[in-house]
């Protein structure tokens, strides 16, 4: 009975995850592919200010944030990591990459991460779909997909959306670890 109910919960969660999420012309990547494609999935807090700077070519503004990692849900690494995202403000100039994620000081987050080709920092994997805000409610720590992407303005449903978690932290971890476990098992079989 409990197993069937649990499967139904995950099925419904999967249906919800399949809904198009707010992003600017992105390929809708299935959740398991997002997890498999991440080099690390972390839970932590954005510490210090988020700074912005032009790249060496003077064509792109990037923003840089430091995240204190409280837990590596997948992968491993240092306790402080640096994340770079497109967009930001330098002096009078602001660049917004519409639908791209942005990090803000003091945010408690769960992030799906991957690397950049041209630098040591991490970036959020799958753009806006790779960033969750972590908040406690009466049911415990909950994850909310961050809808405040660059250039976005929340609508009158913002309050309701902010109160409707996407998953509990525990559910998320179970799902992620199941995906990674299955992936690793397949890799082992193919050796």
């Amino acid at each position: 009975m409990r197993t069937t109910a649990t499967r139904l919960v995950y099925l419904c969660l999967a249906l919800v995850m399949a809904l198009p999420m707010a992003a600017s012309q992105f390929l809708d990547v299935p959740f398991d592919e997002m997890v498999s494609g991440s080099s690390a999935i972390v839970r932590g807090t954005v510490v210090g200010p988020v700074t912005s700077a032009w790249d060496a070519s003077g064509e792109v503004i990037y923003s840089y944030a430091t995240v204190r990692v409280d837990e590596y849900i997948t992968g491993s690494g240092p306790g402080l990591i640096r994340i770079r995202e497109v967009g930001g403000t330098v002096g009078d100039y602001t660049i917004q990459a519409i639908g791209f994620p942005e990090l803000r000081s003091d945010e408690n987050v769960v992030l799906l991460l991957t690397g950049w080709d041209d630098g040591p920092e991490y970036r959020i994997h799958s753009y806006s779909k790779g960033k969750y805000i972590l908040r406690e409610n009466a049911m415990g720590p909950m994850l909310f997909l961050d809808q405040q992407t660059q250039g976005s303005r929340t609508s009158a449903n913002a309050k309701r959306a902010a109160q409707q978690p996407d998953y509990s932290l525990d559910e998320f971890k179970v799902m992620v670890r199941a995906i990674v476990g299955a992936r690793d098992a397949r890799a082992e079989q193919n050796r």
Partner: protein, 254 residues
Amino acid sequence: MRKTILVLAVLTALVVASSAQAYVLLSPKRTWASTPVTVEVNNTGNSTIADGDGGVGQTASAIGAWSNVRSQVTGARATRGDGTPTIELDANGHICTGSCLAATLTGYYHQNSDGSYTIDDADVYTNQRYSYTSEKEADGCSGEFYIEGIMVHEVGHVIGIGHSDVPGSTMYPSVGYCDNGPASLAKDDSDAESDLYSGGGGPGPGCTDADGDGYCADVDCDDGNPKVYPGANDTKGKQGRDGVDNDCDGKIDG
């Protein structure tokens, strides 16, 4: 057991149904200083589009769906800050990679003395990782994305429109293979354009956002403070312990 199934089904249906709302404008609300906005299409087309010019002509034609936009094909490349919105069909601008199909960089906007914002520049980049097609291709579509629909959507961002929750609208955020529906504006899209360029005024349908934090006054418990909005940090750090209900949950610092 049956009760569990019913509850789960209702919850799922509620989540699905809750998404439909209306158009959303970019934040802060901003427009070009004059119309029509001339959007240039760089004449180096996309190598995956076999319609004679790599989708350049089709893109230039399609983006005229917006009544405040005219197109121009050019040999000039997108240059950030040059004041000319430009579409690049063969360059990702070092930013549109991975699962990104196309991205609009809209920045270079400034605030006017009356508090309004004017767009100074915006450019569109395309990810070369995927295959695209156009209505003019002779072999139809298979596992490809229509360039017309994608670019009409991106030009919506260029002129100041965000994503819509209305399924079937051009500014709906997701697009599937072989779906050129976004090339035709829905009423929701036209309403957004009219709001921006026909003296509609205001930050959006039924929304005022005095502090510019992205949350409308009907949900923002303090629309004069940009640090106060639903979901803000209200438990940790300096902001979380400032004696203010930052996240509008009725609890101070909690």
